[in-house]
């Protein structure tokens, strides 16, 4: 009896989880399969697979011909990677300083550095645009990198500090006895130590940067500095009637993220769950 009940409830659980799986995946699959079809097939048989006569790469051809998607990708990649590098390095340095040393104003500076978690930087957009214009950085990737670094630092410092406070001091003290300078201690002892949480910090910082529409739209809308997110937004705005191209543009925007996610999902989810436990 008990066995039957267990069996039944496990079936119900899987039914619920499968239902949400379908709901989560179906829209994406629908876009991906239709992006490979002819216009007739997109409208006539939306659920069919792109095989035989319905297969068409026209959408992709027009996306590649009419736009600078490879360049947009380069821009997004540059902005995301460089910002991430600064967030991780400067974040770890600051977290090390506040968690390792006792000095006047330590509490103040730790609170000051993490208050940005609660106050989104977007609220300062008006003055931020003035500042970027004043520095002559409009329509540059540098502007985005600086803003995203500032935006990502609070959460990075918070997670790194929490982690570093839980790490034993012995290893650092023994390095000191060996005569290592404080800088070498940071680079040779502390940085390797924080490796486990780097994934967490990277995920938390990376997704909002890659997907952001607000700052690219306001700070660097120029053709040359467009990110993928902004590029897709503008491209689709222009070609709303060309369904094949729109579907292809969407797929082009999804696929790299999808591939990266399929490769790294295990580490990524583990990274988030370990980080979230602290929060």
């Amino acid at each position: 009896m008990r066995r039957v009940q267990d069996h039944l409830s496990s079936t119900v659980i899987h039914a619920v989880l499968l239902a949400w799986t379908l709901l989560a995946v179906f829209p994406l699959v629908l876009i991906l399969i239709n992006s490979f079809k002819t216009r007739k097939a997109i409208f006539g048989d939306a659920l069919g697979l792109p095989i035989g006569k319905s297969l068409s790469l026209k959408g992709y051809e027009s996306v590649m011909a009419n736009s600078d998607f490879p360049m947009f990708f380069g821009n997004s990649l540059t902005v995301t990677c460089v910002s991430l590098f600064f967030i991780l390095l400067f974040g770890a340095m600051a977290a090390h300083a506040v968690s390792e040393y006792e000095f006047k104003g330590n509490t103040f500076i730790s609170l000051y550095l993490i208050v940005g978690i609660m106050v989104p930087i977007r609220l300062g957009t008006v003055a931020l645009l003035d500042l970027i214009v004043g520095l002559g950085l409009t329509n540059t990737l540098t502007a985005l990198i600086l803003v995203y670094t500032a935006q990502g630092l609070p959460i990075a410092i918070f997670i790194f500090t929490e982690f570093l406070r839980s790490v034993s001091r012995e290893i650092k003290d023994s390095a000191r006895i060996d005569g290592l300078s404080e800088y070498r201690i940071f680079f040779e002892v502390v940085l390797p130590l924080v490796r486990p949480v780097i994934a967490t910090v990277a995920v938390f910082s990376m997704i909002p940067i890659w997907n952001d529409l607000w700052f690219p739209l306001i700070l660097s809308p120029g053709e040359e500095t467009r990110t993928v997110t902004l590029g897709v937004q503008q491209f689709i705005g222009q070609y709303t009637v060309k369904w094949g191209s729109v579907l292809a543009a969407l797929s082009v925007a999804i696929m790299p993220v999808l591939v990266m996610y399929i490769i790294f999902s295990r580490q990524l989810i583990r990274g988030i769950t370990t980080g979230a436990v602290k929060g």
Binding site: V119, P120, G124, V126, L128, I254, V257
Partner: protein, 312 residues
């Protein structure tokens, strides 16, 4: 700590602390804190023949007093509140339910499920917005056909285009995409509950259902608080991206999906006949700042304190 020993030389000149702190503090101060503070200051000024002039709280009085501004402000505010409440009542319970199912220790395939559930969260809002716009479009016919197939054909409407249903539809799209974040936070919290606690409840004769309500839920209340405040901040600031991608800067139809983000964008950059106004833009942003401050304040002083008591 070192009161017994004389302070060694290397402790006195601890320049390295400054070196470690400087890059982060500098970038963060210049590109995050200064713009926010400066925007707050700008909200107290107006443009007078090219010069900025101090006017105290006059901009705020305009925002809340003049019908032209007040109407837009309260409309956007109301829509944000609707957005927030719907996320709290729909997104977070779904996330909690899915997380509870995923955290069952004997569940097979949990890794696959959670990978899939987090997938939409990862994608750009712009992409997600367009995908749903296409799927719900009467032009394509995927949705009408699907509804026809299950006998609901007559119920189809161009939901995103109707004033009465646009906001709800956009919110459901947002819920669909972002359910992954509370889900993963709840999931992590549930995994973190010690096995012995659950075992003890089982020995007391509670079944899975009651263990969840009486044992697990009280233990993850702090996460519930965290999810609530994240939902609150996200709704008031990040909702711009989705609305702007699906409905455009005018947040149509007839401003029915206007949120604080799109209102700020229009005020700052102007639209149609109205010119952009830096100072009113700063005022809207600052109003938003205070709205978020109230939420964060409630969280830190109320919810957080109460929840920690449960915790200990």
């Amino acid at each position: 700590m070192h009161t017994d020993n004389p302070i060694p030389d290397y402790v006195k000149r601890r320049w390295y602390i400054l070196v470690f702190l400087a890059p982060a503090t500098l970038i963060y101060t210049v590109f995050a804190i200064y713009p926010i503070v400066e925007s707050l200051r700008l909200s107290l000024y107006v443009s007078d023949e090219g010069q900025s002039q101090f006017v105290g709280l006059a901009n705020y009085l305009r925002l809340l007093g003049e019908p032209y501004w007040a109407e837009q402000f309260w409309n956007a505010f109301k829509n944000n509140v609707v957005l927030f409440i719907m996320h709290m009542l729909i997104q977070n319970p779904i996330a909690l339910a899915l997380a509870a199912l995923l955290s069952i220790p004997t569940l097979k395939g949990a890794a696959i499920y959670r990978t899939v559930f987090f997938l939409p969260t990862l994608l750009s809002v712009v992409v997600i917005g367009f995908i749903w716009q296409l799927i719900l479009s009467p032009l394509w016919g995927v949705t009408p056909d699907a509804m026809e197939a299950i006998g609901l054909g007559l119920w189809f409407k161009p939901w995103l285009g109707l004033e009465s249903s646009a906001l709800v539809t956009v919110t459901l799209i947002s819920i669909w995409q972002y359910v992954g974040i509370p889900l993963i936070l709840f999931y992590a919290a549930l995994l973190n509950i010690p096995e012995e606690t659950i075992e003890a409840a089982r020995i007391d004769g509670l079944n899975g259902w009651w263990i969840f309500w009486k044992v697990k839920l009280p233990m993850i209340l702090p996460t519930l608080g965290l999810v609530s405040i994240l939902t609150y901040i996200g709704n008031f600031t990040a909702s711009f991206d989705l609305i702007y991608s699906i409905q455009g800067g005018l947040a149509g139809p007839n401003f029915s999906t206007d949120v604080m983000g799109t209102f700020l964008f229009r005020t700052f950059f102007g639209f149609q006949a109205q010119l952009g106004d830096q100072f009113m833009g700063a005022t809207v942003a600052s109003a938003l700042f205070f709205i978020i401050l109230v939420g964060v304040g409630c969280y830190l002083f109320g919810v957080q304190r109460k929840l920690q008591r449960y915790d200990s």
